[in-house]
């Protein structure tokens, strides 16, 4: 594990702006990015990575490593929540366990973006089709989480046992962020096929602006993450340990799978980051609606207050170290 890699990662604008945000909360500066500006950046980032991913997917086609990678990604997002659920049941009831498990089975798009920036800085190649994996890993964990609740929750008085598939699927793939990401991916794909000239015209917006907007958004993420810390204390040490150890373990499994399907180092890192990251957009939205019995502060504080910062600061370079150990570079 290369500590200079961590330092190099920390000294990039996105991570530094993230720190600027957390530090603002720590020193009680009144810096704030009022609603709905963070929403603007979050919508923009989803639209832009989706669109760019669609372009790349069209370029690379659906052959080669695309199908195996995406399939592995979906399998991971089904398997990880079950694993997490088993661990969480040690301390939590079915509702809370399932909701937190769903969050860790799903992904964080901003962590993914930061990993892409990291790879670019390190001059390590990666493929655009990984965005398809990102998009397709968002929802399955939600379905697993809801199924766990339906199957294992104590029979409620009003007999809510019948599984409402329609509603589950709806929450899983039609929540705003998943929908926008998938939709933009599709639009990028279609456009690259039928109207390549328009792609160039999108480039200043979806491409050039991206890095700066990412920094601005991470400034806000820093503020929000730091504001989550107090409620994290209340969550207890088990959950705190979980929020660090589980991503590391998921990353480890991720590396083994990446090696098994022979991903190249860049793609492998992104795959690992998808496994290790946890959702604070799509999953909380879905859980709030379908499992209100779970305590929102548990899954929000851990994913946003701990796992997210850990991943973008230490996680990404650590996982890179892991990838370099386990996966032979392209010769």
């Amino acid at each position: 594990m290369d500590s200079s890699l961590i330092l190099q990662n920390v000294l990039t604008p996105p991570v530094l702006f993230f720190f600027l945000g957390t530090f603002a909360v720590a020193v009680r500066s009144d810096l704030e990015i009022p609603a709905p500006l963070p929403k603007l950046f979050s919508l923009y980032l989803l639209l832009a990575i989706g669109f760019k991913g669609g372009l790349e997917l069209q370029k690379s086609g659906l052959g080669g490593p695309v199908i195996p990678t995406v399939s592995a990604a979906i399998l991971m997002s089904l398997f990880i929540p079950i694993l997490c659920f088993i661990v969480l049941r040690i301390k939590f009831n079915v509702f809370n366990s399932a909701a937190i498990a769903a969050a860790y089975g799903s992904i964080s798009a901003v962590t993914f973006i930061t990993a892409e920036s990291f790879l670019e800085n390190q001059n390590i190649a990666f493929d655009g089709f990984m965005v398809a994996a990102l998009a397709l890993m968002e929802s399955p964990a939600i379905i697993v989480g809801l199924l766990l609740v339906k199957l294992l929750a104590p029979k409620a008085k009003d007999n809510r046992k019948e599984i409402k598939w329609r509603k589950i699927i709806h929450e899983a793939i039609l929540n705003g962020s998943a929908y926008l990401l998938l939709g933009s991916l599709l639009i990028g794909f279609i456009t690259a096929t039928s109207n390549p000239s328009t792609v160039v015209k999108m480039q200043p917006f979806t491409g050039k602006l991206f890095y700066g907007a990412e920094c601005f958004f991470l400034l806000d993420m820093g503020i929000v993450a730091a504001q989550r810390l107090p409620s994290l204390k209340k969550a207890g040490s088990f959950l705190i340990a979980f929020a660090i150890a589980m991503p590391l373990f998921n990353a480890f499994i991720g590396v083994l799978v990446a090696r098994a399907i022979s991903l190249e180092p860049g793609n492998a890192l992104l795959f690992v980051v998808l496994c290790a990251s946890a959702s604070y957009l799509a999953v909380p939205a879905a859980m709030r609606m379908t499992v209100p019995e779970a305590k929102a502060s548990y899954y929000i504080s851990t994913t946003l207050g701990l796992t997210f910062p850990f991943n973008i600061v230490f996680g990404i370079p650590l996982y890179m170290g892991l990838v370099e150990k386990f996966i032979p570079p392209i010769s």
Partner: protein, 93 residues
Amino acid sequence: MKRLDLIFGERELDAMLTALEAAEVPGYTVMKHVTGRGPERIVSEDMEFTGLGANAHVIVFCELEVLERIKKNIKPLLSYYGGVAYFSEANPL
């Protein structure tokens, strides 16, 4: 007449308005992007970009009989999802 103040999670707004319409309210007013603290949860502005959303504050001016119907319709929602409801006297100007 009565004035009813409802405060609850933004994500339940659609369900809540449907319940109000079912109670045949003469109208309602909605304020979103509202934050606060209840017995259990703290809702802060930053929640708006996470999937959770902030609170909504709904005001209904209506007759007592409508209020009774509203009560029947929204009590289950409030007890399942959380949120508060208070009413007081009000007179049309």
